[in-house]
Structure formats: C-alpha cells, structure tokens
Symmetry: C2
C-alpha cells in the first residue's frame, strides 16, 4: 500500500484556498499511484480556528467544503481534518473521503487544554475508535494528541483487533527541540502496537504559532524511516510492505531530505517562516523597521530580508544626540549589506518640541525615564506613520530578555505589528547573528554590532548593564523562571545569586501589562509570552520571595 | 441556624491581604452569633488566578494561608474557596474550617471552560458530594457553576438524603442584566431540592472582569429573600428557621438594601468599580486622560472622578488646528464642572516637525489617513510621557463601537493603561452621559457635548458619519454580530440593510489586530473584546458573505 503525507501550509479561515491546495496534492497523488492520502489536523479550516468555531456559518461552509472536496477527489482515499458539528456538539474530526463522498468520520478522543491549546473550549471528546480497511490492512485513525498518551490509546483501541498502521494527523506547534520528543512519541506508539505509523503534520505560521511540518513514517520496530521537509510544504510518499511476522516495513519513494542541522538552524528557519507567513497571510508585501545599529534590529532586519526579499524591507535610522557615530554608521552598513532601502530621520526636532510642550506641566523633567521613553515613542510614531502611509507592516525588534523584564518602552519600541524575535533570549540573539553571517557566507551583520556592549542609547553613555544583570545570568534566570516554571527557591538552590533572582522575577511579574500590549511574535520555546502564559495583570503575588 | 455571607473584594495573589479581610469578617461574625460564615469561590487567592496556579510556591503558600486562617478563626464554622493541590491534581475547592482546622474539603464538579472561563486548563473535576451537618441540618456544598445545571446537580447529589440548605460560593462575573439569570438559577435550585440556598458571590474588579456581589438567600419555595449590596463589600446575615413540612424559611437580620434601579445604574456602578479597582490594585492613585470635548472622554473623565476623586484625575486638552472652538471650550468646561486639574498642550508644533521630517520620505503626504493618525499618536506620546513622569495611569477613551470597527488609531488614542468604556456601545455612552448628569444632579457633562454630532476632528469638518453608519444602526449590527454571535444572514433576515451589515462585519473582522493591542477595560456585556472573544488575527474567513 502506498501512503502519502501532504503537509501543507493552511491559512486559518481560507476554506477555498485550503481546499484548492488539497486538490492540487490529490492531482499529484493520482500521478504517483497513491492508495491513501493524508492531510493535517483541521487543515480544511487551518489551525487553530479559535472562536471562528462559534460561527454557525463557518461550520456550514466547512461542511460544504469537505463534501465538495470528496466529490472533486473520488479516486484516492483521503483523510482530512475538519471540525464536525453534529447534533449541536462539535468534534475535532478526521473525514475519510473516498468514492466521491465522506465514508467515515473519526473524532479526536484526547483534547489538549493546556499551554497554547484550548480544545476543550470548543470540542467534545470522541468515544469511538475508527478502523478502516485498505488493501486488507487494518488502519487506525488518530488525531494529534491521541498518540501522546500511549496508555490511553491502548485502552481506547482495545478490542479493535490487529492494527497494521496508525494514521496520525496533527497540528503540532513547533518549539526548539520538540522534534525529538515527537519522534519518541511516534516511535513509542509504533512499538506499543507493533505497527507502522504515518504522521502528517501541519506547516506554516499562524499568529504566534509555527508549525514545522516534518511529517514522518515509522516502521513497526519504532524506527523513523522517512521524514518530510522542515518549515516547508512537502508530499512524503512511502510504501507499506512486508507484513509478515507482524512486521510492517516502510519503503520511502525518495532519498532523505536535509533537515535542520541544529537548534540554531531551527531558530533561523522558524523565524523566517513565521515572519513571512504573518506578513503575507495578513496582506503585507513590505515591512519597515527601525535600525539602531544594535544587535536586535540587525538580526530582525536580516530575518525580514530572508523572509520577504531585500526589495520588501525598509530600514529607518532615527538618531538622537545620544546615538554614537558607531551605531549610526553600523545601521547604514547593515542596510547596505542587506541591500535594503534605508532612510535617516533624526528625532531631535520632534524631541525638542515635545520637551518644550511638556515643560509647561510642572512635573516634567528632561533628565529622567520619561524623557528616555519619549524618544522611543517618537520613533514609534515615525514607523507607524510610514506603515499607514505606505501599507508596510512595522516589525518590532525587542528580544525575549527585555520583553520579560520590561526593558522597553510601551507604545515606543514595542509599537508595531509583529515582533520577530520576541521569544529569542538576548544571548541567543547573539548566536543567531553569528549564524546569519555563516548562512549568508559573509559579514552581513557588522562585527562591531556583535561585539559592542548593548545600549538603548537613550541617555549619555547608557549601557544595558546599568539596569540589568549580565545577559548570561539574566537569560539563565529567565529560562528557569519563564520557560520552565521554576520558583525563586529552586533557582537559588541551583546556585543562582538570590538577590538577582528575586529582582529579575519581580521585574518579570510587574511587567505583565506591558507584554499584554506587545504585538504577537514567533514562538520558538515551550513557553513564550503569548497564549501559553496567561497571567493576570492585577496580581499581588510576589513570586520572588519563595515560601516564607 | 444563623448564616452569614461575606462578599468581599479579594485581590488576585494577595494571600495575606485576602486572609486579613476574612479574619475581620470572622470578628464581625463572632459578634453576631453566626453559626456558618461563607466566603466566595477561590477567595483566598482571588479569581481568576490564571497561570499563577502553575506555580508550586503559590499553591504551597495558599495551603499555609488556609491552615493559618482555620487556626485564627476557631469559633465559627467557615467555608472558604481555595485551589487544592492533591497528589499532583488541582481542584477548585471549598474548605470547611472549624475548631481551628480544615474539617472537610469539597471539590467543584462542573468546571466552566467557555466565555471568559478556562477552568479545565487548571482543575480536575470533583466527583464526590460533600454534606455537612450543622445544628442537625444537612447542608450540601457547591461551587458556582455546579448549580447552573440543576439536572447534573440532581444526579450528583443523589443518595445524599434530605438536604436542608445548599451553599454556593461563587465568583460569577457581571454583565448587564445577568442578575436576573442568576436569580432564576438560584430559585430553580431551591425549588428542585426544596431547600434553602445561600449564595455568596465575589465582588470587585480584576483586570477586565467585574464581580458584582449581590450575594443572596432563597427559601425552599425559590423566593429570593435577602440580597447583599451590589458592587460593594457586604456581610449579609440571615436565620434559617421553620423547618417543618420540609419548608425552610429565611429571616434576614436587616431590611433590604437598595439595589441598582435599572441597567444604566448597573453600567455606571460597574464602570466606577472597575476603574477604581484596576487603578488601586495596580498601585495607581492618579489617572490622566485626554479631553477632546467629545462625549467619550467626557464620560470617561466623569467615571474616573466618581472612582478616584476629583483630586486624582488630570485632564489634558491637546488641540490641533482641526479642533473647533466649541469642543475646546467644552473640554475646559467639563474639567471645571468635575473640579479636576486641567492643562492644554497644543500639538501643532510637534505635528509640524513630524510632517517636515516624514516629508523627506517620498511617499509621505499630509492629507491622508496617516497624517490623521499621527495627530492621535502625538497625543498618545504626551499622555504616556506624563504617565511616566508623574506615575499616573493613562485612561483611554474609546467606546465599544469604535473599538469594534477599528475607528481608532493604534498606539494613538488606544495608547494607555485602562480602557474605561471599551465595552460600552456609542449609543449607550450617550445614555450614560445623561444618567451621569442625573446622578450628579447638575449638568456635569455640558449639553453641547451630548448634542453635537460626533467627530474625531483630525481633518477639516470631519464627522464620524463620513466613515461609519449611523450609530443607532451600527450598534444594532454590533450587538447582533459581536455580543450575540449572529451571522450576516441572520442580521439581514432580521431586516438590517445587507450592504451595511456586510461592511460592518468586514470592519470588525479586519481590526482584530488593533483590538489585541488595546489595554483592558471593564466588561459589561456577555461578550466583550477580551478573553471571551478569542479570534485569530490571521484569518481569511469572510463572515460578511454568509453561506454562498
């Protein structure tokens, strides 16, 4: 039996566009003698559709689209994910299409409702396994999380008899290194049931989420035999052969495709895909961003060029008297290296007028934090004005470290439409800069940008280290506190300095309001500042003290 | 038996502050001969604690706080809500405290996971009813949503024998008119079990949510006998008497307290409480806002004064050449009427410098939307600068109608910390203005502000009606589409003009990104633009077309 996994980039809500892509994979499949063609979880409507699922018309349109897809693709058995509305209950379902109609429907049994997932908000759990028979093989249908708890799955499938292959259609969001866990799960599932596994995952960016594809086949010994592209669409085909001694072998039809070499490759590819998809899926060809000559905006600009092309990226330098000649010339050098449009708009004239006007209020002083923030806000105004005028998306350049501790100006440097590196810790931004220069095989990001001590340049001789701990230490604390949910006490006991740990945690907690008002950005870690971290703004709990 | 309902304003995360309040109610109760004292759902930690529940230390601290509370209050039986962590599973629980210790623990069985609720993200459902016996009466414990499905509750309580009273501790968020539904539920529950119901609800503002209190007692015929204050703390005491012929009578200890007279009273009181609690619980005494002389900023300023006092509200007029003499003088008049600090900062000098600077980029023109938005952004800069300088919270003034259709400038007039009237449709803002003048018994909001056709005053002779349908029509469409989840087709079939319906729906859908970046505000409807409406930004579904 020949099975094909069509991992495609579905757009949420684009029913006709998604169906069109599925039809084109069907045409490809008919030319390759495919017996069974898989599409990802909820791929007819994109994942996650969120509260679109509350719209009656949306569900009706989906029902029609699935019926039409079945009618249009009669010659191959296909499995496609869709939300099924049945007697007023909604299910996360997989339709088995063949002979021009919907033949069977499987309903997801395990509904994740943690992290970025809200499936119990919408769906009822399915209670019945569905087994299909193709070419005398027994094939069990599963959807994403169904296979993550293999004990549950064993009970669920009990009494269904011998299974030759498990299909799993997924929309499994990416984070760094998650592929390893995913391979373990799939391998474990294959071993448990002594059968092949065909795993078809979604690809593409959807708001903050990235789906990385990497659909795969495992044989009945649990070995991963074939893997589809990472961060790109693909059609992965393999034959299921040699079912003797209850052993299912997998024979892929093509040679292995190159995969991300390491975590840095994953970071780079995820950011590029996420930026491209957010822009394009929201109708933007071009982006604009402020270039300070610092590491964050340099890396963001390079990612933008990789995502959208140099002709679609505009860099604006907006110096004040606090910006050094070095950073100003580095901004220009970077733009030249990237081949992007570049303009300089000094902010001093606006700064002076604001200062004069605010001077009429007695509390105003031009030496403090408010005056620093004002500079960032003037820059935000300039970028948003260009965005409005020319229809360009503003990319913000804040990294995860500063987003975490609130080292940013609300409605200033946080003002924009998409925050490319908001889930990238500062220490990782440096590594990414070096990797970018390797990938592009030249010094795109000037060496000085990488070696100069970081500064917001909002007052004379300012350094990040005036206000923040060393980034190595800061990032270690943030990784523990934010990404791993470790407590102050745990972090201190692991050897981190108590006073700094407490201070950083306090900063993170107090800046929830700022993060709530930052644009979405690419999620690359198990816990980003987005829908997977839902903390109240109004919150008097002091996580920094630990048990008293 | 004498029962007291202590509806108090808990702050999320403030374990010691909340426990302190509970102890002070306990002291009051000991003076009133109380047998049973109730506190709201999760009141030891505030509701909703959201992802604080993922913190080990938070749960440990709560366990200690509940133990301490029991030890401190040995002489009255108390029921207090807290998250219980047991063998790695978390429950939304009610502790029965007496004799200095925790005697019993009830676990909520029905966990809401829709609308603003995410309880299945955190909690496991309880499976066991808990009945306590006080003075020979059988009393069943329930938590909030447990009583909303009386058939479920009947099955759940089956076999527990005769029940004399049902206790329900709640954190039931307010929306306009919800009290009616709540009374029906409580009444139905009393009738079903032929027993009294003691219902203790939370009060206070928590980010976007308002809890309105109005705890109550129902007798066994389902009649609501006594009701606590609305939108304020209260201790409501009643005796349960006359248990003959299986009839429980309720005798309140005081005369009825005045309740909101109508929906407009509810709107007013909810906005005042929400604004006061957001400011105070986040450490702000003072607020600042822009006064345009229009209806939205006028109403917002009046609410702010009612919430925080006239000495704590600062109004800033920021005119450009497009602002009429009429609105400018109305802004000043309003400030005078309210008795608040008032400053005028003309924006022309900054506008000119931005225009000159942006003029260097060839695409710039000073006639279009970008130039209009720039004016709003300069105002945002001024307000945020004053906020930073003087530690004042910026109140934004956008109403629900403009928030819905995106008739606002992102990072301009949407820039601030709290959006007081973001869930109030424009037509309701007008009614609220009139009600404010009635409540204050004088023309606080100048008559011209109420009668003048609304305008953003960002270009010569601009009127809202240039870009938007009549507010009566717009609000009717928004109420149907946003608050009632009705489709374009349904709205058109109900007699609304098809073209306008489609246009408005398109505007709502396309402006999700803007709403995502607006500050939180008081939720007063069944569906606000907050955690109860979770739509993707990236979304190609056209809800305006209806079935094709």
């Amino acid at each position: 039996m020949r099975v094909a996994l069509a991992q495609f980039n579905a757009v949420v809500g684009d029913l006709s566009g998604n169906a069109e892509k599925m039809r084109s994979f069907y045409v490809q499949a008919t030319e390759s003698g495919i017996d069974l063609l898989l599409f990802p979880e909820l791929s007819i409507c994109g994942y996650p559709p969120e509260d679109l699922l509350y719209k009656r018309g949306f569900l009706d349109d989906i029902r029609r689209a699935v019926g039409q897809l079945a009618a249009d693709c009669p010659d191959i058995m296909m499995v496609a994910g869709f939300p099924q509305d049945c007697d007023g209950k909604l299910y996360n379902a997989a339709a088995v299409l063949s002979g021009g109609r919907i033949n069977k429907i499987y309903r997801k049994g395990m509904l994740p409702n943690y992290g970025v997932f809200d499936e119990q908000r919408y769906f009822h759990p399915g209670k019945e396994p569905v087994i299909i028979n193709v070419k005398n093989l027994n094939i069990a249908l599963t959807i994403c999380f169904d296979i993550w708890n293999v004990e549950w799955l064993r009970d669920f499938l009990e009494g269904t008899g011998r299974i030759d292959m498990i299909l799993n259609i997924s929309a499994s969001p990416f984070h760094l290194g998650k592929i390893k866990k995913r391979e373990e799960i799939i391998s474990r599932c294959a071993k448990q049931f002594e059968c092949a596994v065909a795993y078809c995952n979604l690809v593409g960016g959807q708001d903050e989420l990235i789906f990385d594809g990497r659909s795969m086949f495992a044989d009945s010994t649990g070995r991963i035999i074939a893997k589809a592209r990472a961060f790109d669409e693909d059609l992965l085909i393999a034959d299921l052969v040699g079912i003797d001694d209850s052993l299912a072998r997998i024979k892929p039809l093509r040679k292995p495709i190159s995969q991300p070499g390491d975590l840095m490759d994953e970071v780079y590819q995820a950011l590029v895909l996420g930026t491209r998809d957010y822009a394009h899926k929201n109708g933007f060809d071009k982006v604009v961003l402020g270039l300070s000559g610092g590491i964050d905006s340099s890396v963001t600009a390079a990612i933008a060029v990789a995502a959208l092309g140099d002709e679609n990226v505009v860099g604006i330098s907006m110096p004040s008297r606090f910006n050094s000649a070095g950073t100003r010339s580095d901004a220009e050098k970077l733009a030249k290296n990237l081949g992007i449009e570049f303009h300089t708009i000094p902010i001093e004239p606006m700064l002076k007028e604001f200062d004069d006007a605010l001077g009429a209020i007695s509390c105003w002083n031009c030496d403090g934090l408010a005056y620093e923030n004002l500079q960032a806000r003037i820059r935000g105004c300039i970028l948003m004005s260009l965005s409005n005028q020319a229809g360009m998306l503003v990319l913000t350049t804040g990294n995860k470290s500063e987003t975490a501790v609130g080292y940013a100006t609300l409605y200033g440097d946080t003002a924009g439409g998409f925050a490319v590196i908001k889930d990238v810790l500062k220490t990782l931004v440096y590594k990414l800069a070096e990797r970018i220069n390797q990938i592009w095989e030249r010094e795109v990001i000037p060496g000085d940008v990488i070696t100069r001590p970081p500064s917001a340049e909002l007052r004379p001789d300012q350094k990040d280290s005036d206000s923040l701990p060393d980034y190595d230490l800061l990032d270690e604390i943030l990784k523990g506190y934010v990404e791993e949910d470790r407590s102050a006490q745990q972090l201190i006991e692991s050897g981190l300095p108590a006073e700094v740990v407490r201070k950083v945690i306090r900063m993170v907690d107090r800046n929830e309001y700022k993060r709530r008002l930052c644009p979405p950005g690419v999620r690359i870690t198990p816990k980003a500042f987005g829908k997977d971290r839902r903390l109240p703004i109004t919150n008097r709990y002091n996580s920094g003290t630990g048990p008293s």
